[in-house]
Protein backbone atom coordinates (compact mmCIF):
# COMPACT_ATOMS: atom_id res chain seq x y z
CA UNK A 1 0.00 0.00 0.00
CA UNK A 2 2.83 2.40 0.83
CA UNK A 3 4.26 1.90 -2.66
CA UNK A 4 0.97 3.04 -4.21
CA UNK A 5 0.81 6.02 -1.85
CA UNK A 6 4.43 6.90 -2.65
CA UNK A 7 3.69 6.88 -6.38
CA UNK A 8 0.55 9.02 -5.96
CA UNK A 9 2.53 11.35 -3.66
CA UNK A 10 5.16 11.66 -6.41
CA UNK A 11 2.56 12.31 -9.12
CA UNK A 12 0.87 15.02 -7.05
CA UNK A 13 4.28 16.53 -6.39
CA UNK A 14 4.97 16.67 -10.14
CA UNK A 15 1.67 18.49 -10.74
CA UNK A 16 2.42 20.88 -7.87
CA UNK A 17 5.95 21.46 -9.16
CA UNK A 18 4.63 22.40 -12.59
CA UNK A 19 1.94 24.72 -11.25
CA UNK A 20 4.12 26.55 -8.75
CA UNK A 21 6.98 26.92 -11.26
CA UNK A 22 4.63 28.40 -13.88
CA UNK A 23 3.24 30.82 -11.32
CA UNK A 24 6.64 31.83 -9.94
CA UNK A 25 8.10 32.55 -13.37
CA UNK A 26 5.01 34.47 -14.43
CA UNK A 27 4.98 36.56 -11.26
CA UNK A 28 8.66 37.58 -11.48
CA UNK A 29 8.84 37.83 -15.25
CA UNK A 30 5.37 38.38 -16.67
CA UNK A 31 4.96 38.34 -20.44
CA UNK A 32 4.29 41.87 -21.75
CA UNK A 33 3.22 40.85 -25.25
CA UNK A 34 1.73 37.74 -26.91
CA UNK A 35 4.24 34.95 -26.46
CA UNK A 36 5.78 33.22 -29.43
CA UNK A 37 8.55 31.11 -27.90
CA UNK A 38 8.26 28.19 -25.49
CA UNK A 39 9.79 30.29 -22.67
CA UNK A 40 7.44 33.14 -23.48
CA UNK A 41 4.40 30.91 -23.32
CA UNK A 42 5.73 29.31 -20.11
CA UNK A 43 5.71 32.67 -18.32
CA UNK A 44 2.55 34.08 -19.87
CA UNK A 45 0.15 31.80 -17.98
CA UNK A 46 -2.69 33.44 -15.97
CA UNK A 47 -0.94 33.09 -12.60
CA UNK A 48 -4.02 33.90 -10.53
CA UNK A 49 -5.88 30.84 -11.76
CA UNK A 50 -3.17 28.57 -10.32
CA UNK A 51 -3.51 29.66 -6.67
CA UNK A 52 -6.43 27.47 -5.58
CA UNK A 53 -5.01 24.43 -7.37
CA UNK A 54 -1.62 25.00 -5.71
CA UNK A 55 -3.20 25.17 -2.23
CA UNK A 56 -5.16 21.95 -2.83
CA UNK A 57 -2.17 20.16 -4.37
CA UNK A 58 0.13 21.29 -1.55
CA UNK A 59 -2.29 20.00 1.10
CA UNK A 60 -2.87 16.71 -0.71
CA UNK A 61 0.85 16.16 -1.35
CA UNK A 62 1.70 16.99 2.26
CA UNK A 63 -1.01 14.65 3.57
CA UNK A 64 0.21 11.72 1.48
CA UNK A 65 3.82 12.60 2.34
CA UNK A 66 2.92 12.51 6.03
CA UNK A 67 1.43 9.02 5.64
CA UNK A 68 4.42 7.75 3.67
CA UNK A 69 6.76 9.36 6.20
CA UNK A 70 5.70 6.85 8.86
CA UNK A 71 6.99 3.99 6.71
CA UNK A 72 10.13 5.97 5.80
CA UNK A 73 10.89 6.51 9.50
CA UNK A 74 11.00 2.77 10.17
CA UNK A 75 12.29 1.32 6.91
CA UNK A 76 14.60 3.97 5.43
CA UNK A 77 15.83 6.37 8.05
CA UNK A 78 17.09 3.69 10.41
CA UNK A 79 19.20 2.21 7.60
CA UNK A 80 20.60 5.62 6.64
CA UNK A 81 21.63 6.14 10.27
CA UNK A 82 23.30 2.75 10.39
CA UNK A 83 25.20 3.66 7.22
CA UNK A 84 26.28 7.01 8.73
CA UNK A 85 24.62 8.90 5.88
CA UNK A 86 24.25 12.08 7.95
CA UNK A 87 24.05 14.54 5.06
CA UNK A 88 21.25 12.50 3.51
CA UNK A 89 19.37 12.47 6.79
CA UNK A 90 20.06 16.19 7.18
CA UNK A 91 18.49 17.14 3.87
CA UNK A 92 15.43 15.08 4.78
CA UNK A 93 15.20 16.85 8.16
CA UNK A 94 15.15 20.14 6.24
CA UNK A 95 12.48 18.68 3.92
CA UNK A 96 10.11 17.92 6.79
CA UNK A 97 10.62 21.31 8.44
CA UNK A 98 10.30 23.25 5.17
CA UNK A 99 7.10 21.34 4.35
CA UNK A 100 5.66 22.28 7.75
CA UNK A 101 6.64 25.95 7.34
CA UNK A 102 5.04 25.93 3.88
CA UNK A 103 1.75 24.87 5.46
CA UNK A 104 1.90 27.91 7.71
CA UNK A 105 2.13 30.41 4.85
CA UNK A 106 -0.69 28.84 2.81
CA UNK A 107 -3.49 31.07 4.22
CA UNK A 108 -1.48 34.22 3.44
CA UNK A 109 -0.48 32.89 0.01
CA UNK A 110 -4.12 32.11 -0.81
CA UNK A 111 -5.33 35.49 0.42
CA UNK A 112 -2.79 37.58 -1.52
CA UNK A 113 -3.62 35.73 -4.75
CA UNK A 114 -7.31 36.52 -4.46
CA UNK A 115 -8.71 38.70 -7.23
CA UNK A 116 -8.69 41.58 -7.74
CA UNK A 117 -4.93 41.53 -7.15
CA UNK A 118 -3.81 44.59 -5.21
CA UNK A 119 -0.64 46.25 -6.46
CA UNK A 120 0.42 47.18 -2.93
CA UNK A 121 0.77 43.45 -2.11
CA UNK A 122 2.69 42.52 -5.27
CA UNK A 123 5.97 41.91 -3.45
CA UNK A 124 4.33 39.87 -0.67
CA UNK A 125 2.55 37.80 -3.31
CA UNK A 126 5.75 37.23 -5.27
CA UNK A 127 7.85 36.28 -2.24
CA UNK A 128 5.22 33.94 -0.76
CA UNK A 129 4.99 32.22 -4.15
CA UNK A 130 8.78 31.95 -4.28
CA UNK A 131 8.93 30.45 -0.77
CA UNK A 132 6.42 27.78 -1.77
CA UNK A 133 8.31 27.18 -5.03
CA UNK A 134 11.57 26.73 -3.12
CA UNK A 135 9.93 24.35 -0.62
CA UNK A 136 8.28 22.31 -3.38
CA UNK A 137 11.48 22.07 -5.45
CA UNK A 138 13.61 21.21 -2.41
CA UNK A 139 11.18 18.56 -1.19
CA UNK A 140 10.74 17.07 -4.64
CA UNK A 141 14.46 16.74 -5.27
CA UNK A 142 15.26 15.44 -1.78
CA UNK A 143 12.41 12.94 -1.94
CA UNK A 144 13.61 11.77 -5.33
CA UNK A 145 17.23 11.40 -4.19
CA UNK A 146 16.26 9.58 -1.00
CA UNK A 147 14.11 7.20 -2.96
CA UNK A 148 17.11 6.45 -5.15
CA UNK A 149 19.44 6.01 -2.17
CA UNK A 150 17.34 3.34 -0.50
CA UNK A 151 16.07 1.75 -3.67
CA UNK A 152 12.45 1.55 -4.74
CA UNK A 153 10.53 -1.27 -3.06
CA UNK A 154 13.57 -2.51 -1.12
Amino acid sequence: MFTVLLIVHGLLAVALLGAITHQTVSVWSPARKPAGSFIGRFRSVPATSYANAIVVLYLATALLGAIVYTEYRVVVRVVLEQLDMWKTNGVFELKEHFAALGLGVLPAYWYYWRTPLLGEHARTRAVLTSILAFVVWWNFLVGHVLNNVRGFGS
Partner: protein
Protein backbone atom coordinates in the same frame (compact mmCIF):
# COMPACT_ATOMS: atom_id res chain seq x y z
CA UNK B 1 -16.05 33.89 -2.49
CA UNK B 2 -15.85 36.73 0.01
CA UNK B 3 -13.57 36.58 3.02
CA UNK B 4 -14.01 38.41 6.35
CA UNK B 5 -12.33 41.81 6.51
CA UNK B 6 -10.05 40.53 9.24
CA UNK B 7 -8.77 37.59 7.19
CA UNK B 8 -5.52 39.31 6.07
CA UNK B 9 -4.73 39.94 9.75
CA UNK B 10 -5.45 36.29 10.52
CA UNK B 11 -3.31 35.09 7.60
CA UNK B 12 -0.28 37.25 8.38
CA UNK B 13 -0.36 36.59 12.13
CA UNK B 14 -0.93 32.87 11.51
CA UNK B 15 2.15 32.64 9.25
CA UNK B 16 4.29 34.40 11.86
CA UNK B 17 2.92 32.53 14.89
CA UNK B 18 3.07 29.15 13.14
CA UNK B 19 6.71 29.63 12.13
CA UNK B 20 7.85 30.81 15.57
CA UNK B 21 5.79 28.17 17.42
CA UNK B 22 7.03 25.40 15.13
CA UNK B 23 10.72 26.08 15.66
CA UNK B 24 10.15 26.32 19.43
CA UNK B 25 8.16 23.06 19.42
CA UNK B 26 10.96 21.31 17.52
CA UNK B 27 13.70 22.67 19.76
CA UNK B 28 11.86 22.07 23.05
CA UNK B 29 9.96 19.00 21.82
CA UNK B 30 6.49 20.33 22.62
CA UNK B 31 4.60 17.63 20.73
CA UNK B 32 0.87 17.37 21.34
CA UNK B 33 1.10 13.68 20.56
CA UNK B 34 3.58 11.00 19.56
CA UNK B 35 3.34 8.37 16.86
CA UNK B 36 5.07 5.01 17.13
CA UNK B 37 5.28 3.90 13.47
CA UNK B 38 6.58 0.40 14.17
CA UNK B 39 3.60 -0.29 16.44
CA UNK B 40 1.03 1.87 14.57
CA UNK B 41 0.27 3.51 17.92
CA UNK B 42 -0.60 7.09 18.83
CA UNK B 43 0.08 8.49 22.28
CA UNK B 44 -0.86 11.75 23.94
CA UNK B 45 2.00 14.19 24.61
CA UNK B 46 5.69 13.42 24.31
CA UNK B 47 6.38 9.72 24.79
CA UNK B 48 9.67 7.86 24.71
CA UNK B 49 10.42 5.51 21.82
CA UNK B 50 8.93 2.08 22.33
CA UNK B 51 9.66 -0.91 20.13
CA UNK B 52 11.05 1.26 17.29
CA UNK B 53 11.41 5.02 16.76
CA UNK B 54 9.00 7.68 18.01
CA UNK B 55 7.73 10.40 15.64
CA UNK B 56 7.02 13.86 17.03
CA UNK B 57 6.59 15.76 13.74
CA UNK B 58 2.80 15.39 13.71
CA UNK B 59 2.63 16.50 17.33
CA UNK B 60 4.84 19.55 16.69
CA UNK B 61 2.55 20.63 13.86
CA UNK B 62 -0.56 20.08 15.98
CA UNK B 63 0.87 22.19 18.83
CA UNK B 64 1.96 24.90 16.39
CA UNK B 65 -1.42 24.85 14.65
CA UNK B 66 -3.37 25.26 17.88
CA UNK B 67 -1.09 28.04 19.09
CA UNK B 68 -0.98 29.88 15.78
CA UNK B 69 -4.73 29.53 15.28
CA UNK B 70 -5.45 30.94 18.74
CA UNK B 71 -3.01 33.85 18.33
CA UNK B 72 -4.28 34.68 14.83
CA UNK B 73 -7.92 34.59 15.96
CA UNK B 74 -7.05 36.82 18.92
CA UNK B 75 -5.34 39.28 16.56
CA UNK B 76 -8.57 39.53 14.55
CA UNK B 77 -10.24 41.05 17.63
CA UNK B 78 -7.71 43.88 17.86
CA UNK B 79 -8.99 47.33 16.82
CA UNK B 80 -8.59 48.10 13.14
CA UNK B 81 -6.51 51.16 13.97
CA UNK B 82 -3.80 48.77 15.18
CA UNK B 83 -4.09 46.02 12.59
CA UNK B 84 -4.17 48.46 9.66
CA UNK B 85 -0.48 49.08 10.17
CA UNK B 86 0.39 45.35 10.10
CA UNK B 87 3.00 44.84 7.36
CA UNK B 88 1.98 42.02 5.02
CA UNK B 89 5.67 41.20 4.55
CA UNK B 90 5.80 39.63 8.01
CA UNK B 91 4.00 36.68 6.41
CA UNK B 92 7.16 35.84 4.46
CA UNK B 93 9.96 37.51 6.42
CA UNK B 94 9.49 35.42 9.56
CA UNK B 95 9.07 32.04 7.76
CA UNK B 96 12.21 32.77 5.70
CA UNK B 97 14.11 33.63 8.90
CA UNK B 98 12.92 30.39 10.51
CA UNK B 99 13.97 28.40 7.44
CA UNK B 100 17.46 29.89 7.72
CA UNK B 101 17.43 29.17 11.45
CA UNK B 102 16.66 25.50 10.73
CA UNK B 103 19.63 25.38 8.33
CA UNK B 104 21.78 26.64 11.21
CA UNK B 105 20.25 24.32 13.81
CA UNK B 106 20.74 21.27 11.58
CA UNK B 107 24.29 22.16 10.55
CA UNK B 108 25.58 19.22 12.57
CA UNK B 109 24.28 16.83 9.91
CA UNK B 110 26.48 18.48 7.28
CA UNK B 111 29.63 19.13 9.30
CA UNK B 112 30.36 15.58 10.46
Amino acid sequence: MSTPRSFPVFAVVFAVAWSVAYVICVEKNYALFTYHPALYEWGLGVQKAKDGPAMYWFGWMATSGLFAGAVALAACWLPESLTRRLWSGWSWAVPVAVMLLFCYLLRGYFLR
